[in-house]
Amino acid sequence: METINPEIRLSAPEHIAPSTVTFTVNRIQTSVQVLPWVSLLDALRDALDLTGVKKGCDHGQCGACTVLCDGKRILSCLTLAVMKSGSEITTIEGVAESDQLHPLQQAFIDHDAFQCGYCTPGQICSAIGMMQEGKARTRAEVKELMSGNLCRCGANTNIIDAIMAVKDGGTNA
């Protein structure tokens, strides 16, 4: 758990030392040594091997890197790992309960809500965050509040179907 991508380490000048970031990732308290400019996304993928978190654009434009931080959906590419010391992070690897898929994971399968699957981890984390926010009532509102997650394969219609099937127990599907 404590290995650091050697490339990240190599770029450090002598005088800036990595710092220890301690946070809870997928319910497990974890410490990583990271340099200040390492994004949360790179720390999760390269240091913690949580490669379910995807790097799409690395600039906040696609939503592939969406994770939950203290229950809120955020973009892990536009925040630094050091900024999240003390936080509770959930990635796609942590949404299922042991062998039981998260209802949204099952719904994505049932509704054929992906093709290549690259956007899927971000879509599911984002949808979990959206349901917790409780601001999306109608399908139009769900579409608007999921617009931060792009799908290049164009599975959007089925993605919204999958979310509607789970949201509010599927009462609006």
Partner: protein, 343 residues
Amino acid sequence: MHNFFYTRANSIEEAIDGIRVDSAAKYVAGGTNLIDLLKYNIERADVLVDVNHVEVFPDAEQMADGCLRLSAFMTNADTAYHPLVEKKYPLLSEAILAGASAQIRNMATNGGNLLQRTRCYYFYDPAMPCNKREPGSGCPALNGYNRMMAILGTSSECIAVFPSDMCVALAALGAVVEVEGPSGQRHIPFSEFHRLPGRTPHLDNNLEAGEIITAICLPPEGFSRNYAYLKLRDRNSYAFALVSVALALEMDGECIREARIALGGVAHKPWRVPDAEDFLQGREATPGNFAAAADLILQGAQAFEHNGFKIELAKKAIVRAGKMALHPETHLPGAQPPSFENL
């Protein structure tokens, strides 16, 4: 991204001190603009002073003079969904919710929103000259691809647009920005916060070195009955405005007692023309009167090769926003343009 130190500030004083000791230090809040620009090597910092842990209580405070004081460190999402903002300043809620994405709004702060940099493609391309990035190097947008650029308040040195949605509503509401710095506290009226490019396009606003935004104060009048935010863009969500309009009315029967109109996507700052607002005062809220006000607002607009469409678009958007303000029930998620077929 180049290398920098990181430090956390737990109070406003610590934050200001953190910047004072190093002139190449920068505050980082949500990081959604700064970290992006650091990755492109467009912004540089030796030290990032994280202001997300500055103790503020409460996030939104109803003041004795009727103003609502919003913390600069509160997120855009928490602001838009705050019960007092939703109830008294729905224009601000709608404008915030028309910007960026839900994830970005969960990260972005009110202070950071005011200080976001332009989205001009040449500013974002270090291989190109840009007077905003490197003063004196030139402005390729003037004769380049300038579809997104400004039509009002431009100078021969910069035609960039300020991209915020939230700030268009804050301009219309007449907010006041509270800042604190090495030489104390001051309050800046919103219309004086951002600058026009003139001969100093590298300066976006009138904040002084080391100053930190601590709060945004909303005046008592929230225009909660008749208001509209309309955002027009290339796709209906998660895109910056080509033109946006924040419009608020206080009605007296059929007549307008007070009007506020601010435009986004057309200038280096949210654009307000007091003459146009005065013109509407005492007149009926008709499409014709809104069109006449729109002509006053767009007076002196200057288009470049690819953005001539913005002048007509802005005028029509003002008329439509006027109708939307009279019928808040027509508003759509994300400030998308509603149809008026059923009215």
